[in-house]
């Protein structure tokens, strides 16, 4: 069965510190990979996506994600977090870009 694992339920990080959110998937082939973010009072929004090619996904809002085929991982990173990055982050995968399977999410708290 297809599955997506986000091992960290909650992460607390100081403003200005680095952040890494982990995501692992179990599939036979390389899926399409996504990170979505849900800020308080807002719907889920796409943050990053990976279809093929370079393992490092382009930087958006300071975030980057690295695909590692050997580890079946698609971790999200940000070198220096801002208070506005406090949100819930969901990793998602798809084989045919129509049905997404989501992880349980990681809640990020940013302390001053």
């Amino acid at each position: 069965a297809q599955s997506v694992t986000q091992p960290d339920i909650h992460i607390t990080v100081s403003e200005g510190a680095s952040l890494e959110l982990r995501c692992n998937y179990s599939y036979g082939a390389t899926p399409y990979l996504f990170w979505y973010v849900q800020s308080p009072g807002q719907g889920l929004q796409l943050l990053l996506k990976y279809f093929s090619g370079d393992t490092l996904v382009q930087v958006i809002k300071g975030f980057e994600a690295e695909f590692k085929r050997s580890q079946s991982s698609f971790n999200l990173r940000k070198p220096s977090v801002h208070w506005s990055d406090a949100a819930e982050y969901f990793c998602a995968v798809s084989f045919n870009d129509y049905k997404l399977s989501f992880g349980a999410g990681t809640t990020v708290t940013v302390r001053a």
């Binding site: 979505y36 719907g43 796409l46 129509y98 349980a104």
Partner: protein
Amino acid sequence: GAGVSQSPSNKVTEKGKDVELRCDPISGHTALYWYRQRLGQGLEFLIYFQGNSAPDKSGLPSDRFSAERTGESVSTLTIQRTQQEDSAVYLCASSWNARRGTGELFFGEGSRLTVL
């Protein structure tokens, strides 16, 4: 509006009652999805509509759940004889033709259902 609109935003009901949740997708989006998010869990796929094709109902948890969509517009998710385990946030999303699109789903803010 410009985004996906869902109503009601909150619904409290008694066990055994029927509820209807509505989703108004972004104009022009042919694909529409319903997901369920239980507390502390990831999003659970429920159903997918694509244009006039037969919907993918493979995620509906029981026959108490049903959904309809009129053409490429509004969708209604109906839960009959609600149970306490149906308490969750029900999320609707829409996208361009998923088979040719980027995989980006646009989500509404969800309908929070509480079954007492």
